[in-house]
């Protein structure tokens, strides 16, 4: 007996289809679904593919068409997602590099954020190289390919870093540099390169700056001042090793090391290694202010924490002021410590991802209070 609104609501909750009616309806619907089957080609995946194509179709050459065909012929957006993990040599790697990354770069914003995104892509190339090396399948051709891609990305990052540095923004180049240099993968890569070079006698070159050495090396030597970045030493060693044809072998090296032997046995510096070190050097150069030393790690860290707004404080750090003094400057300028949001996430709508993924989970709406 329904006596008040509460009774009414309780009674309403109990209304349901009878078992028989429910089963019958289910059977009808099942048959209906069979009769009107999903079209092959997965329209819902097409939605995502169409979006992806429309974004970059304008700026990409015919390769886009080829990869799009691959994309559609396979499992549609499922392929785009799987491609995120692809390494060179796999079919989906093309999708990763020619589809996913360009699309995501559209959303990477501009200026510093974009440069950091390119640095991130560069790091990816290093990661891929290491993966391949671990598997033992890193051929010279693959390595060169990765090295060139790496260079393409870092050049974009360096370009922005230099431009920003010229415009007076100092902390942005630092952040961009950090994106590459302070990545654990890259650090390991560089450390391994140094370790390898340490076995060759050409490392002895680090103690001198002979004439005729490449300018970058000279800069690095100067920057050695306080901290002697690891990259500097490795850089010079590598440059020296690869400079066999360019200039006369420095006398210092010849004298200090087992001469001809060292030159002959010096391992061919990997194409990627050279580029990594070169990129780091260039980024360091963009950070280099008024010929002062390369920023101390604490300074870099402090600037990153404080973020780009305060030019005065940044300068204070880089001209050798103590970290605490710089901190005072920060507080005076009362900058908010915010970090640049990472806009390098895939360009796909998360809700859409869920739909085209293989999940068959019952959905809940936002704010779904009770369940049936």
């Amino acid at each position: 007996m329904i006596n008040d609104d509460k009774d009414l609501i309780a009674a309403m909750k109990q209304i349901r289809l009878s078992e028989a009616a429910r089963e019958r309806m289910r059977a009808n619907l099942s048959a209906y679904a069979d009769m009107h089957a999903m079209p092959s080609g997965n329209f819902r995946d097409f939605e995502v593919v169409g979006f992806v194509l429309s974004v970059f179709a304008r700026s990409r050459p015919i390769f886009a068409g080829a990869f799009a065909v691959v994309l559609i012929a396979s499992t549609g957006a499922g392929a785009a997602l799987a491609a995120e993990q692809a390494i060179p040599g796999e079919v989906l790697y093309g999708v990763k590099v020619h589809v996913n990354e360009p699309v995501a770069s559209v959303f990477a914003g501009s200026g510093e954020a974009k440069a950091r995104y390119h640095a991130k892509l560069a790091v990816r190339r290093v990661e891929e190289a290491q993966l391949l090396e671990e598997k033992g399948v890193l051929t010279p051709e693959l390595e060169t390919d990765l090295a060139e891609r790496f260079e393409a990305e870092t050049m974009k990052a360096v370009e922005v870093a230099e431009k920003l540095a010229d415009a007076g923004d100092i902390s942005a180049p630092i952040a961009i540099r950090a994106e590459l240099a302070e990545n654990p993968v890259v650090e390991r890569f560089v450390a391994a390169a140094v370790a390898e070079d340490a076995t060759t006698a050409t490392l002895a070159v680090a103690d001198e700056v002979p004439e005729g050495m490449a300018p970058e090396v000279a800069t690095m030597k100067r920057a050695e001042g306080g901290n002697e970045p690891v990259e500097a030493r490795a850089m010079m060693a590598t440059m020296a090793a690869s400079d066999t044809e360019a200039t006369e072998p420095p006398e210092g090296a010849l004298k200090k090391a087992a001469p001809e032997q060292a030159m002959l046995e010096a391992p061919q510096p990997s194409a990627l290694r050279v580029r990594v070190l070169r990129a780091l050097a260039l980024l360091d150069k963009s950070v280099d202010v008024e010929g002062s030393t390369a920023p101390a790690p604490e300074a870099v860290a402090a600037v990153q924490i404080a973020r780009p707004k305060n030019q005065t404080a940044s300068r204070a750090l880089l001209t050798g002021a103590s970290v605490s003094q710089a901190a005072r400057e920060f507080m005076l300028a009362s900058t908010t410590a915010s970090s640049t949001p990472d806009r390098t996430s895939p360009a796909f709508d998360p809700a859409l991802l869920k739909q085209v993924g293989r999940e068959v989970t019952p959905l809940t709406s936002e704010g779904d209070a009770s369940s049936e």
Binding site: R26, A33, N42
Partner: protein, 168 residues
Amino acid sequence: MDQDEAKDYFLQIYDTYADAIFRFALVKVSDRDVAADLSQEVFMRFWQALREGTTLRNDRALLYTIARNLIIDWYRKKKDQSLDALQEDGFDPRGADEVPILEHAQMQEVLKALHVLDEASREAVLLRYVDGFSPAEIGALRDETANAVSVRISRALAKVRTHLHAHD
């Protein structure tokens, strides 16, 4: 999604929402058989939406929207019928072949109690207290503000209370 996966997903949606959609339709059309027919059609249309690749951000909202639209269409077809005739049909104890008598009776009692309310209020009360929609979500379905919905609901409850107590 291929056919098998889509169908699995679809039937899962059905299992979850069949009763809710039926209840929703029943409260609005006051006729069990009509409500059952409409419910089936709601799910058929939902399947079509899946086929067409409609971007489904919120399947529940889509289901209810389809249901509302179908019911509106149904009302338009019934426009010429008098309101009284409609109400009488609703209370007609139809060939209750599958439904236990007690359940059927209770259903009738609910419908009778709800009939003091207009259709919009019935729907709002159902969605709010039985299906757990928030006033904002209800407003989104009906294109009203959450505030308007809340007001409507409290007025509806008051009216129901008055009506039920008057019959004690």
